[in-house]
């Protein structure tokens, strides 16, 4: 009995040689326990060593191998061949410029991530010799979900608003800002607000929810953004009701 094979249609693009991206088809063996990344690695090692893509951990935690597989943004290391038909179409993530083949330029994402000041602004400065800040499991649970983002960019690829408006800060960065805002040790919400609550921030989101649907870590950025909208609105009205109170 001959071994079962599948076909991969992979989008290729080398800016030094190609005027436009084009598909190239590869035939690879099918294995029931293989993920799409295994099939791509087979191409790289056995068929065509010029194929470029990012990958490392092969366990869905490093966030390198986000790509579009049959139209959906997924982690290639967490998408099983058995869940796809005989022919699989593989493209780079949408909404980002293509650097080469399946590699996208992620400068814009990196800028946005740092723009929300994603680090703890401590409620009280404390020397390390005085020990940790106390935080109960319930306080941890408030924000834990939003710490799980692996920066894989799938949510930006799926986001219709980011596709329309490049300045939109976007799901992962806003969810990360929310994560710090919810942390009982943090008082940095006001310093994040100028980006988070700007025209390019939460108010740009039209709550389609595609980000949360594609998130491989169930971070639910859509919920983070809606919660931030509510908190921000509260701030806005408080400013009029209690002008003496610092934001």
């Amino acid at each position: 009995m001959s071994e079962r094979v599948i076909e991969l249609d992979i989008l290729r693009y080398d800016p030094e040689q190609d005027e436009a991206p084009h598909f190239q088809t590869y035939t690879v063996p099918y294995r029931d326990d293989w993920v799409v990344l295994d099939a791509i690695n087979y191409v790289k090692d056995e068929l065509d060593c010029t194929l470029s893509y990012r990958w490392s951990c092969h366990m869905a935690v490093c966030g390198s191998c986000g790509m579009i597989v049959n139209g959906e943004p997924v982690l290639a290391c967490h998408a099983f061949l058995r869940d796809y038909p005989q022919k699989i179409r593989i493209e780079p993530l949408q909404n980002f410029p293509v650097e080469r083949d399946l590699v996208v330029v992620m400068d814009d994402f990196m800028d946005k991530l740092s723009s929300v000041k994603p680090y703890l602004v401590a409620r009280e400065e404390k020397d390390v010799d005085d020990g940790e800040y106390l935080q109960t499991p319930a306080e941890l649970a408030q924000f834990k979900q939003y710490t799980a983002c692996i920066n894989c960019l799938l949510c930006y690829s799926a986001c219709p608003q980011y596709a329309l408006t490049e300045s939109f800060v976007g799901p992962a960065a806003l969810a990360l800002a929310h994560r710090y805002n919810l942390d009982s040790r943090d008082v940095g919400r006001s310093v994040r607000e100028d980006v988070v609550a700007s025209n390019s921030g939460i108010w740009e989101c039209s709550f389609v929810g595609a980000c949360s649907e594609v998130c491989p870590k169930t971070v639910d950025p859509a919920a983070a953004i809606q919660q931030t909208k509510i908190a921000s609105t509260g701030d806005y009205f408080l400013k009029f009701l209690m002008p003496w109170k610092r934001q």
Partner: protein, 584 residues
């Protein structure tokens, strides 16, 4: 070639590199830092560490306990001055990460919680569920964004250190987006590039862990220390090698063979009950557990699968709620990748290459023998890990020694470095670029990168695995030397300057071949069994002859030269390692 002037170049932006960068920025915010990595920081393999980070914090624990667990765990090959320094700085470093926002798991009263790990007398592993490395890395990366003096060079692949007259002046790197080679001209360089597990075929290590930094320092004249000590983690998923954390045994998981028998009791780790209990059975050290698997396999008591023999890690007695709270990633990984939900079924596992104890020879300040060159994290050998690293010491190590490297480099850069002939530096950088261009432009060639890599992997598994002997190691070193020759005829098909992973893969392979030879030759010379280095032909530890560190020195033409240096013993004389009932 473009020259980028900076004060301190850091190669590698995982846990150790980020911690070093922040340390430099905190010592002196006017020092310019170039943080160079072949991947974006959050892709670094620190991300995959699961179980936790050790540091004494609870009243029932003591520095003495951490010291003795580490030294005995390392089979007395640790430098005890380094261990003392490490254990004392550990709690402060872990607390600092807490102050920076790391979401450590907590006790009901809000204090940081700890869990037991293998080889530990008292539980002292801080954890963030079973994604500790992930949270630690992201906390460090996000915190690093606060410091304007840290300039990142993401996706720059470092190739050569510029060393002239015993002093380091910078590093060359390929900008992967353009293919251009840049010289980072700096007062000093910190290497923080992680381990080299990818020299083996079956490993928990991500694709990026190819020992580039080790090889770079090695070629520049710094010896690689204790390279024969490679840790097999006892519980990896068959096929993929995905790590199932030791935390799962810390929480009460058991290992059974094909008869459902807790076989570790047959290897000086029992009796099995009461369970769980410290430093016994499944909470023995990693080397002993991986070796026990090997013996079970020889006895025909393991379970055969398509991906090699396995034993069963049974977590069912923990119950669904505890598994979800403490080990959510284990459940997810096992369910997705092998279709086994640990709430209902035992997880098939086998030993898997996990960690390189050896590395770039450094002192306790992370300094190497080359002036202005530092190394920290898994790529370095301080040495606190000796012949077998204690689980959960490595995340702490990258914080403690990453910070020390950063502070040491900052001090070095601040005290006015003497000028060096610029022409010499430019010439050295040009030579590095020429070497890359020569490889890049080569036509013809008969050897493929993937083919050579596979042969190297197979040679290491056959010759330098859990158990070794003169014959297997001799054959392994000979094969590696042939592979090194064949590498000269490697074929590079990809001629694009843009994100050329064919070229990067070839350079990584070159590094791995050098590192593999250092491992195999060091192992061949060490005619004793100690920790993770087990010789079938020399089954006993031999303190008279081998209570010393091996040092592998690079040779451009042949196999490395191996010599030795002393182990620092301060307050714990070598003794027998005792686990299980015998120690109670």
């Amino acid at each position: 070639m473009q020259t980028i002037h900076t004060d301190i170049a850091i190669v590698g932006a995982g846990g150790a590199g980020l911690r070093a960068a922040i340390a430099v920025a905190e010592v002196d915010p006017t020092l310019k830092i170039a943080l160079i990595s072949k991947v974006y920081p959050m892709r670094s393999h620190t991300v995959a560490a699961e179980g936790g980070a050790a540091g004494v914090i609870k009243g029932n624990d003591s520095f003495d306990n951490h010291f003795h667990d580490t030294v005995a765990g390392g089979d007395w090959l640790c430098d005890q001055d380094a261990v003392d320094l490490f254990i004392h700085e550990a709690p402060r470093e872990l607390t600092r990460i807490e102050h920076w926002g790391c979401p450590w798991s907590r006790e009901p009263d809000g204090q940081v919680a700890v869990r037991p790990f293998g080889g530990m007398k008292v539980e002292r592993t801080w954890y963030a569920a079973d994604k500790t490395g992930f949270h630690l890395l992201h906390t460090l990366f996000q915190t690093s964004l606060k410091y304007p003096s840290i300039e990142r060079f993401d996706e720059y692949f470092s190739t050569d250190l510029i060393v002239i007259d015993g002093r380091c002046h910078g590093v060359t790197a390929i900008e992967m987006r353009t293919g251009q080679v840049h010289l980072f001209r700096s007062k000093c360089v910190i290497i923080a590039t992680g381990g080299a597990g990818r020299v083996f075929p079956f490993t928990t290590n991500g694709a990026i862990k190819t020992g580039d930094g080790m090889a770079m320092a090695y070629r520049a004249g710094v010896p690689l220390k204790d390279m024969e000590f490679v840790q097999y983690h006892p519980t990896g998923l068959p096929g993929t090698g995905i790590l199932i954390t030791e935390g799962s045994r810390g929480e009460g998981g058991i290992l059974v063979n094909k008869d459902g028998y807790r076989y570790l009791q047959d290897y000086d780790l029992g009796p099995p009950d009461p369970w769980p209990r410290k430093k016994a059975m499944e909470l023995g050290p990693r080397d002993r557990l991986s070796q026990a698997f090997w013996h079970e396999q020889k006895k025909g008591r393991t379970i055969s699968t398509d991906y090699g023999d396995v034993v069963h890690l049974d977590l069912r007695q923990l119950g669904e709620a505890k598994i979800n709270e403490r080990l959510p990633m284990v459940r997810e990984l096992s369910s997705s990748y092998i279709g086994v939900d640990p709430v209902y079924e035992p997880i098939p596992v086998r030993p898997v290459v996990h960690y390189t104890m050896g590395g770039i020879d450094t002192d306790v300040d992370a300094a190497t023998s080359v002036e202005g060159l530092y190394a920290a994290g898994e790529c370095a050998c301080v040495s606190i890990n000796g012949a077998n690293r204690l689980g959960s010491n490595s995340l702490t190590e990258l914080l403690v020694f990453g910070a020390r490297a950063g502070r040491g480099a900052a001090k070095f850069a601040m005290c006015g470095v003497a000028e060096t002939n610029d022409q010499q530096i430019q010439a050295a950088a040009q030579a590095a670029e020429d070497r890359i261009l020569q490889l890049f432009r080569r036509t013809g060639g008969t050897e493929s990168v993937s083919g050579l890599r596979r042969d190297m992997n197979d040679a290491m598994e056959a010759g330098a695995g859990i158990y070794r002997s003169e014959d297997t190691l001799q054959a392994c070193t000979e094969t590696l030397q042939q592979i090194r020759e064949r590498y000269k005829d490697v074929l590079l098909t990809d001629k694009s300057n843009v994100f050329n992973t064919d070229l990067i893969g070839a350079l990584e392979l070159g590094s791995m071949i050098d590192v593999a030879a250092a491992m195999a030759c060091s192992a061949l010379q060490r005619k004793e069994s100690r920790g993770s280095h087990q010789r079938l032909d020399h089954p006993e530890r031999d303190d008279a002859a081998y209570l010393k560190h091996s040092l592998a020195h690079y040779s451009a033409t042949g196999l490395p030269n191996i010599d030795y240096c002393g182990v620092m013993i301060t307050r714990s004389q070598p003794a027998e390692r005792v686990y299980g009932g015998a120690q109670e």
